[in-house]
Subunit: 365 residues, 2 copies
């Protein structure tokens, strides 16, 4: 049930968080764990914080079914945008370039940062098709001496998502999972490094969750500034300097919430049901709603669609908000609507959106 | 009055925040400004967030008595440690090096990052004196073609602080003010760039406040990754990518609180009175407490002192906590005690600490 003064929040990020998590954080905001201080006031070298930090790391690995012997969880600031630079800085050279599969605006931005350094190559692109789908396995071309393949797993703006993990034949696979991290089980072992700005699926903006093979990040170029080397974070348990403690604390709470919901398999089932409600409203609209993404690339996280006219689109946004459905306006590069239905969006929110879509269509078709 | 379940928090950072600010944030945590969402769930492109962001910037400039025509307030992630790298990356070259006044561990770390890039020089150092004071004006040596002079305004670990602004004769002055930002009025116009990790005086860990002359940051090397260029933040109002919204929101609240307290002059008066309480307890102890800093470099923010033995120091920490005085243990490189008494530490907290110090001395001398 929606609480009286809250709305269903379909924003693409920062985005809805589980209400239980928000309430817990609120209740203990002045006195964390009997410390007599707020979580925002506690030293990052104190035991009370250490427990929060390490539990978040352990819970994330457990959810991903990864071994702590093999994988490291790191918390890095600067957003995915800084990762776009850290990846080529740490792993690519002019001789051994990073390869990028272009599937949307953020994949392009990652490639652009490699290009600033002169170390990027395109492995595949669906740009000419206006990013209505992600590249297919057969389209991804890698040189033998590629430093890595970089993919953007879910394309927030275009509403597309990989439903397979690309095979790279031994070349390290790196993925930006900012908008679908921990939304479904994957064979995460196939990835050398995964990063995700947490503000979509995992917590408040201000930290990037990086999960990487230890062997992949244990050595970083010593010509790089300390804070741009992955091994600074790996070797210091992400405590080389003061971490963004509140964000990590909230991510830890979300990880516990995910466990309480049954983990990634259960979350995936729920996310499929939620997305089906909205996609069914599109597919059953006789063309009134037109989905942007091709069906086999449809994202479970961001549903993008257009209406017959821009006037109707404006009306849709306004009436949706009157119905306590907020943040449904799409990105300007696609236009129309976008319903972001991350883990924290309850089933009822999607039901209410689908009902509203059906009602709106009948009134305006 | 200390609330029943809270303690006086003398941690060096993350550190105490104004209780009024914490309570306000707590009260509106589930529904910010009638948006129906938490501040952590609101889009950074939404009007409700924009107002928070821009008010924080304006209030900070007002507190610093700086003109918005001339200075820009930026919010950057990565901590002061990333600033240590961004400063030389943006401003120094092998031909025109950055000059560093070494006054403590963080000043050294800033210099180290310039050295990784091969662009750092020492302008002055008090290392041989164990950093018991900051360099004097007469000791600071700058080449004519220095790119800048970098100083660390307050040295958290050693408990020293500049009580003058170095004259650089036209060479840009850059200061790390992480541990005394907005604690006193200064002629901020003398600085080309000031940065401060907010977790000591200004808010929750996770954002650095950067205040810079617009003319100094409007052009950045295009060979740098986008997120390492100051002009990315300047030209995009610190909204090139998702900002650490919760931290900025809290910094904004602290800025409003500072204004309600009467601004930096009033805060300075209060900070001097608070520090005097603790320094008087040291100076009147007949050598039982020995201050680390020389008197004319004493910090108003971090009071560092030793006791006659390490056993007594351990006892002091334990009994202080029983008296609801937390976080008084010093940094390992100095040893002993450190009382961090930033803006948010109330006068009563310092009174209580001084009373405790006097009582402890009588019982253990």
């Amino acid at each position: 049930m929606l609480e009286a003064d809250r709305i269903y929040n379909f924003n693409p990020g920062p985005a809805a968080m589980p209400l239980e998590v928000l309430k817990e954080a609120q209740a203990e905001f002045l006195n964390f764990n009997k410390s007599g201080m707020s979580i925002v006031e506690i030293s990052h070298r104190a035991k009370a914080y250490d427990e929060v930090h390490n539990a978040a790391k352990a819970d994330i690995l457990e959810l991903m079914n990864l071994s702590a012997d093999e994988y490291e969880v790191m918390f890095i600031q600067g957003g995915a945008s800084l990762q776009f630079a850290m990846v080529p800085l740490n792993f690519a050279t002019a001789d051994k370039k990073g390869y990028y599969a272009l599937s949307g605006q953020f994949a392009e931005k990652a490639y652009d940062e490699a290009n600033i350094l002169g170390v990027g190559e395109v492995a595949a692109s669906t740009k000419e098709e206006k990013y209505v789908r992600v590249p297919r396995q057969s389209e991804i071309k890698l040189a033998d001496k590629a430093a890595y393949l970089h993919i953007c797993m879910n394309n927030t703006i275009f509403g597309t998502e990989y439903h397979y993990v690309p095979e790279t034949n031994g070349i390290p696979l790196i993925a930006d999972m900012s908008s679908d991290m921990l939304s479904r089980p994957l064979n995460f072992n196939k990835f050398s490094l995964i990063y995700a700005g947490v503000q979509k699926n995992l917590g408040p903006a201000g930290v990037v969750l990086v999960v990487a093979k230890k062997s992949f990040v244990e050595n970083s170029p010593t010509t790089l500034p300390t804070m741009l080397r992955y091994n600074t974070f790996y070797k210091k348990n992400s405590l080389y300097n003061t971490p963004p403690a509140f964000c990590i604390y909230m991510v830890g709470k979300v990880a516990k919430w995910l466990k309480s919901m049954g983990g990634l398999s259960k979350m995936h089932e729920l996310n499929k049901k939620k997305a089906a409600l909205v996609y069914d409203a599109i597919d059953g609209s006789n063309g009134f709603y037109r989905g942007h993404a091709e069906k086999d690339s449809r994202s479970l996280m961001n549903v993008t669609f257009r209406l017959p006219s821009e006037d109707l689109e404006k009306k849709f946004v306004a009436e949706a908000l009157e119905n306590k459905l907020g943040g449904v306006k799409g990105h300007r590069s696609v236009g129309g609507m976008r319903a972001s239905i991350y883990n924290a969006m309850p089933y009822e929110g999607c039901e209410r959106l689908a009902d509203f879509m059906n009602k709106f269509r009948k009134e305006n078709a």
